[in-house]
């Protein structure tokens, strides 16, 4: 086992470092630190930061869009409520106007009706007066007529009675 003995002779203590190995490990590590820091690490890190920035930006813009949408929605809701209030107000106003109009018309109609009734009453009274006057004149004339006729008839009936009596006596005499 010659190589073993040789190796053991080179560095008998497994805990103490051997100089050539130190040299190579220092070279390796120094090379790694320098090349990584100068050349290999920055692109990776830069890309990760760019991605972080992009995601952050996306989240921010999404957040902005959401806020904007909520604002617009609120605006529309406000407008809608305003329009509803306006519509209610207009309807209420129209109802009031109609009411006023109705009362006006009613009052006017009542007034006209009263006017008409008054005029009728006047005409009726006048007519009644006229008829009464005419009737009175006619009645006077009729009374005279009737009286004249009654008197005439009274006289005629007495003559007739004498004739009747005379006739009856003639009738009785002839039969005996």
């Amino acid at each position: 086992m010659t190589p073993v003995i040789l190796a053991a002779a080179e560095s008998s203590n497994p805990i103490l470092p051997s100089v050539p190995e130190i040299i190579w490990s220092v070279i390796s590590f120094a090379l790694l630190v320098v090349l990584l820091a100068k050349w290999a690490y920055p692109p990776v890190k830069g890309m990760m930061q760019a991605r972080t920035a992009k995601i952050q930006g996306d989240i921010d813009s999404a957040e902005n869009a959401r806020t904007e949408a909520e604002r617009v929605l609120g605006e529309y809701r406000e407008q809608l409520a305003e329009a509803r209030r306006e519509a209610t107000r207009i309807i209420e106003e129209a109802r009031k106007t109609a009411e006023v109009l109705r009362r006006d018309l009613l009052a006017k109609a009542e007034e006209e009706a009263a006017d008409l009734r008054a005029r009728n009453d006047e005409a009726l009274a006048f007519e009644r007066e006229r008829v009464a006057v005419e009737l009175r004149a006619e009645m006077a004339k009729l009374a005279v007529d009737i009286a004249e006729r009654v008197i005439r008839t009274e006289i005629d009936r007495r003559a007739a009675d004498a004739l009747v009596q005379q006739f009856l006596a003639e009738i009785g005499a002839s039969q005996s």
Binding site: P3, V4, A7, A8, E10, S11, S12, N13, P14, I15, L16, P17, S18, V19, P20, E21, I22, I23, W24, S25, V26, I27, S28, F29, L31, L32, V33, L35, L36, A37, A40, Y41, P42, P43, V44, K45, M47, M48, R51, K54
Partner: protein, 255 residues
């Protein structure tokens, strides 16, 4: 009991690799060097592939790399260093990937050796971290950094006589040692554990004895292989997190 005479190789044999070139010189290039260089090349290749795709919706390698970067950014840097720690992303990412890949070669066929199980790998990393956090602390806070680090506020003066030496020890001496030894010890132990069960399985198989108990070491080997992948990631995470914590203290002051 010659059937059970298992030839367990000595520990210096399983950890010393023959040089591929430059044998005997200071730049002797062996398996550990191959693995550390591969850790660098693989990390750079992953980042190059991920950075080249530039897809808005990441898939495959890009997804994996971005997930790792995100994880290091969020779970390590932000928690331990705050927003100012962001510029340390490449350094900590390099640490994490380097350690994780060097670790995970423990279970990759034909390599099957964690480079971090050789003190030559964790020790320079720990020293680099140590230098980084001390230099950053002085740069950010001046002399106050040392005062803040070793003199906790609201402590009676007589306690400081004991506390200051302890704090000096723990902050400036124990930290790098603990970093290096934690990583080294964990990976070496895992490596030896896998080796043990491999040798055991192999011996049982070759000697064609104990076929009844053969599945047991082999099942253990399989389970441990999965476990060691987890340990590789965990140790890389711990090392990177502690580094971030130390750097965070240098940025803001420890108390």
């Amino acid at each position: 009991m010659q059937y059970l005479a298992i030839n367990f190789p000595p520990i210096s044999e399983v950890l010393n690799w023959k040089p591929i070139f430059g044998g005997g010189t200071a730049i002797a290039f062996n398996k550990v060097g191959v693995i550390t260089l591969l850790a660098t090349v693989i990390t750079l290749a992953l980042f190059w592939m991920a950075g080249r795709q530039k897809k808005l919706v990441p898939v495959g390698v890009q997804n994996f790399v971005e997930w790792s970067v995100e994880f290091i950014d969020n779970s390590i840097i932000r928690d331990a260093m705050g927003p100012e720690g962001r510029s340390w992303g490449p350094y900590l990412t390099a640490l994490f990937f380097f350690i994780f890949i060097a670790n995970v070669f423990e279970v990759i066929p034909f390599f099957q050796m964690p480079a971090t199980a050789r003190m030559a790998v964790p020790a320079p990393l720990a020293i680099a971290v140590w230098v980084t956090f001390v230099v950053l602390g002085v740069k950010k806070q001046g002399f106050r950094y040392f005062k803040d680090a070793v003199v906790p506020p609201g402590v009676p003066v007589y306690v400081l006589f004991i506390l200051v030496p302890i704090e000096i020890l723990s902050t400036f001496f124990v930290r790098p040692f603990a970093l290096a030894i934690r990583l080294f010890g964990n990976m070496l132990a895992g490596h030896l554990l896998l080796l043990t069960f491999t040798v055991l399985s192999e011996a049982l198989f070759i000697k064609s004895i104990g076929l009844i108990i053969l599945p047991l070491p082999f099942a253990m080997l399989t389970a441990l292989t999965g476990y060691e992948i987890f340990v590789s990631a965990l140790q890389a995470f711990i090392f990177t997190t502690l580094t971030a914590v130390y750097l965070g203290e240098s940025l803001h002051g420890s108390h």
